[in-house]
């Protein structure tokens, strides 16, 4: 009888655990992973922008998307930006 009670308690706790894991996974929207990745890229781009561009000058008031690539390429040469930082800053600027 005792063994059966223990077994039932074990089954119950396992079931509760499985339900908890399922509930936790259902709390997350299905597209959270790409969002998190995008947020990480945005964060990396912002850090690269602050670390490299803002060292010498303040950001311009407006930057037309049409010339953003040209500006970043100029900065790649002038500030010796790494290729990864160049891409991260472009993504940060929303391009």
């Amino acid at each position: 009888m005792k063994i059966q009670a223990k077994f039932a308690a074990l089954l119950l706790s396992a079931a509760v655990g499985v339900c908890a894991v399922c509930a936790a996974s259902q709390d997350q929207p299905p597209n959270q992973a790409p969002r998190r990745k995008a947020a990480q890229q945005q964060d990396r781009g912002e850090r690269a922008f602050k670390a490299n561009c803002s060292r010498c000058h303040k950001p311009p008031e407006q930057l037309s998307p049409r010339i953003a690539g040209t500006v970043i390429r100029h900065m790649r040469v002038r500030a010796s930006l790494s290729a990864d930082d160049e891409q991260a800053i472009l993504k940060y600027l929303g391009l």
Partner: protein
């Protein structure tokens, strides 16, 4: 005069080939790579030792990508200089035009960019980073500017540069350059060889680097430099400094700026206000070599610069400063004020 058939043929085909090459490059330009045209416009007032100089100036900048791996860059400087004559107190003016750089950049790989043409000498930090007049916190350049940048800050030749190694904690960048001699008016340069190595620690926003230039004209001169920049994220302070040494003199500048209100809430108008301070000292080791002045004061000089700047949205800048200069040739006050604005726009509409 009649031209040989071969020359006529070349004259006919060369423009076509050039046009096809240009169009070919143009077709591969991405929408965000439209060539840009920028103009810095400014008005500068400087009163040094009681004599005033006024300068309205414009500096056009052209940056044009050609395909994926080429970039053409150029910056000019046009200004009218009204200088007060010490004897009569009258103003005399003259027009000054120059080309700071005109270069072709070839992005050869992730770690190497080849630069050819007229370029700014990569010695220390001031010449490459702070000579566009819409950027620096002080209108006047540092006293040690002449070391390592002879003759006049520009070189004609080639340069290899890039990011040698980088991760989240450190970036190592390098520049190696050579220059040929030229006496052409706008392309003056000397035979030189130089390099610069920089370590940048992005987490601390701390940069330390060294520069070297070997001057290879009649008198061979070595110039060495060390720079340190520190712009901590959490403190409202920016520190920039250069030290330079050559056979006849040495010196340093150390600048601190305090963007007290930027990004820290408070009134929007206050965000652009920025006090700044710069200390400079130059030391004369030996008299200038005949025909090869190092560009530094003839006697030991100390200068303290106190500035109050206002930066509006990054495009407009109002700089004011008071400096006191101490030297055996006499002490003097220097009062500077300048207003600059930078326009930046695509050269054509392009596609979105």
């Amino acid at each position: 005069m009649s031209l040989s058939p071969r020359i006529v043929s070349a004259k006919t085909w060369l423009p076509r080939i050039a046009a096809i090459a240009f169009l070919g490059c143009g077709l591969t330009i991405a929408a965000q790579d439209t060539p840009l045209f920028s103009v810095g416009a400014g008005f500068f007032s400087d009163t040094s030792g009681g004599l005033t100089t006024l300068q309205p100036a414009i500096a056009p900048v052209l940056v044009a990508p050609l395909g994926k791996y080429l970039l053409v860059e150029s910056r000019g400087d046009f200004r009218e200089i009204y200088a007060q004559n010490g004897a009569s107190n009258e103003y005399h003016s003259h027009f000054f035009a120059s080309m700071a750089f005109a270069q072709l950049d070839i992005i050869a790989s992730r770690h190497i960019t080849i630069v050819g043409g007229k370029f700014l000498v990569p010695f220390g930090t001031y010449n490459e980073r702070l000579t566009p007049f819409w950027i620096p916190n002080f209108q006047g350049g540092p006293l040690i500017y002449g070391i390592g940048t002879k003759p006049g800050g520009a070189a004609n030749g080639g340069m290899a540069r890039g990011d040698l190694y980088s991760n989240r904690d450190v970036q190592l960048s390098y520049v190696v350059c050579f220059s040929g001699a030229s006496n052409i008016h706008d392309l003056q340069s000397a035979r030189t060889f130089g390099d610069r190595i920089s370590f940048f620690f992005p987490r601390q926003r701390l940069e330390i680097g060294t520069s070297y230039q070997r001057y290879l004209e009649q008198t061979h001169l070595n110039s060495e430099g060390v720079h340190l920049w520190w712009l901590p994220y959490r403190l409202p302070v920016e520190v920039r400094s250069d030290y330079a040494h050559t056979q006849t003199s040495h010196g340093y500048w150390l600048e601190t700026a305090f963007p007290l209100f930027a990004g820290r809430g408070g009134h929007r108008l206050l965000a652009g206000l920025q006090p700044a301070f710069r200390m400079q000292q130059t030391f004369r080791i030996a008299p200038n070599i005949a025909g090869e002045p190092d560009g530094l004061p003839a006697v030991n000089t100390q200068e303290a610069d106190f500035g109050l700047d206002y930066v509006a949205h990054g495009d407009m800048r109002l700089n004011t400063s008071y400096s006191r200069s101490f030297s055996a040739n006499g002490n003097k006050n220097i009062w500077d004020a300048s207003l600059t604005y930078r326009f930046l726009f695509p050269m054509w509409r392009g596609s979105k």
